[in-house]
């Protein structure tokens, strides 16, 4: 029987808003060190801003695909055929040129102009959640009533998920990435999620609507298999759901702890753009980019890494590297933090970044204007941070106004 470790793996350890000081120690000394990941595998952890950029922009030597026979310890035996179909359409498991082929089919849906067209709908979704909160009255769990539903409803909209299915859909999605749930159960959830996506794809094949799946079927229907469509939809769901929702929860808490900066976001319409970038940097909710595998012997920060090794890049560490930005430990929403690595770097840079930015730019000021007296309804020491998870965030956040 495998026993759950008491502490999450080093690259996931945090103290409230801050990455573990051990990460800083690695960054200031060797730059790269071997650590153990959540599945007990040895990985090379890269911690400096420049090194992370180098790794992420070099897809030839640091690959996203897995060599034949690569297995994660503890993973149940899944038949080869099912593995192949589960991998299809997952952009994060591909290298160029296959990656570029799929990514290019999707980019039209995430242009800045396209996001501006979506803006009124996002405003409606945000206002509806705020209406519901106001009606129910304080106190409220901000995660359940605001941070989770907004990104989830936006991605449902983009994927064309019918209203009646949205509750189930949200519940299932929230659990797939939770590392505290046993792997067998998570795999079951993933399988159920794929079945559901399969039903959406089938519907889109018959009657392509105005959503992303409909667009993919109309424009690229003959080039894409059903497995690829299911994979793309599943990836958009997970990526769009977990990330923005944790930014909204954790970001609100960060602002509540910095009242002068909260006031600026609430009262100055020009403050939110740079504030979102700085919050992305300072919170760095994605612990590590998708692990890369070295395709040849390499050296990072002077540390030799043999071929075939797993490489993790620590985004929180890179984003708090004093060689990248002055006073990295300070949250300063005015500076905007251009060049942060919260969306990654290289060809896998977050496809949904313009959507995530748009959602945050709408949601934070709307929340703070609706409830100008928003405050914590629990002690800061009692706030339930969520650490044993692929994405950092909050389990819940009790607020009042």
């Amino acid at each position: 029987m495998t026993q759950a470790p008491e502490l999450p793996p080093l690259h996931m350890r945090r103290d409230a808003f801050n990455p573990t000081p051990e990460l800083r120690k690695i960054r200031e000394t060797d730059g790269v060190r071997t650590v153990t990941n959540a599945f007990g595998m040895k990985v090379f952890l890269v911690t400096r801003h420049e090194d992370i950029k180098d790794v992420l922009s070099d897809h030839q030597r640091f690959s996203n695909t897995r060599p034949p026979g690569f297995v994660v310890p503890g993973a149940p035996n899944v038949p080869e055929e099912e593995q192949t179909s589960a991998r299809a359409g997952n952009l994060l498991g591909l290298d160029p040129p296959e990656h570029q082929r799929l990514r290019r089919m999707l980019t039209a849906e995430f242009t800045i102009r396209r996001m501006k067209r979506l803006e009124p709908r996002i405003v409606e979704i945000v206002e509806a959640q705020l209406d519901a909160m106001e009606k129910a009255g304080p106190p409220a769990d901000l995660v359940a009533s605001f941070a989770l539903p907004i990104p989830s409803l936006v991605i449902c909209e983009l994927l064309g998920v019918p209203y009646d299915d949205r509750d189930d859909f949200q519940r299932r999605s929230a659990r797939q990435l939770d590392l505290s749930i046993p792997m067998a159960e998570r795999l079951k959830l993933v399988r159920r999620g794929r079945e559901y996506m399969g039903s959406l794809v089938e519907r889109a094949r018959q009657q392509p609507g105005e959503d992303i799946l409909g667009m993919l079927v109309r424009e690229h229907g003959t080039e894409l298999t059903d497995d690829e469509l299911i994979g793309v939809a599943g990836l958009l769901l997970l990526a769009g759901h977990e990330t923005t929702s944790n930014m909204l929860g954790l970001g609100t808490l960060a602002l509540l702890r910095h009242p002068d900066q909260l006031a600026a976001v609430r009262d100055d319409p020009g403050a939110i753009g740079p504030a979102v970038e700085e919050m992305l940097r300072w919170l760095s909710i994605v612990h590590s980019a998708i692990p890369r595998i070295t395709t040849t012997d390499v050296e990072v920060a002077g540390v030799p890494i043999p071929a075939g090794q797993l490489v993790f890049v620590s985004l929180p560490s890179g984003n708090r590297d004093p060689d990248f930005i002055d006073s990295p430990e300070v949250l300063d929403i005015r500076r905007g933090a251009p060049g942060h690595l919260a969306f990654g770097h290289g060809v896998h840079h977050c496809l949904g970044a313009p959507l995530a930015r748009m959602e945050m730019r709408i949601a934070f000021p709307a929340l703070l204007r609706r409830f100008p007296t928003l405050e914590l309804a629990e002690d800061f020491e009692d706030v339930a941070f969520r650490s044993f998870h692929f994405i950092y965030g909050l389990r819940s956040l009790e607020v009042t106004w």
Binding site: R103, T107, F110, I112, H349
Partner: protein
């Protein structure tokens, strides 16, 4: 005279260049970078250098 070149085959449509310098860069309907000017105006040169630095796929190049 400062020019900027964009490699449209390498572009991954992150949109960072448009955020950094929307007077110089745009995205076409597929999200691929479009350079709007032959010559980068004086006041935009810092923004363009920022865009080059921020481009995740290194698709931009400044030619002085």
């Amino acid at each position: 005279m400062v020019r900027v070149q964009a490699d449209r085959d390498v572009c991954i449509s992150a949109g960072n260049c448009v955020m950094a310098a929307d007077a110089v860069f745009d995205q076409d309907d597929d999200g691929i970078v479009v350079v709007l000017v032959d010559e980068v105006p004086e006041g935009e040169q810092d923004h363009v250098r920022e865009a080059v630095r921020l481009c995740p796929s290194q698709a931009l190049r400044v030619a002085d």
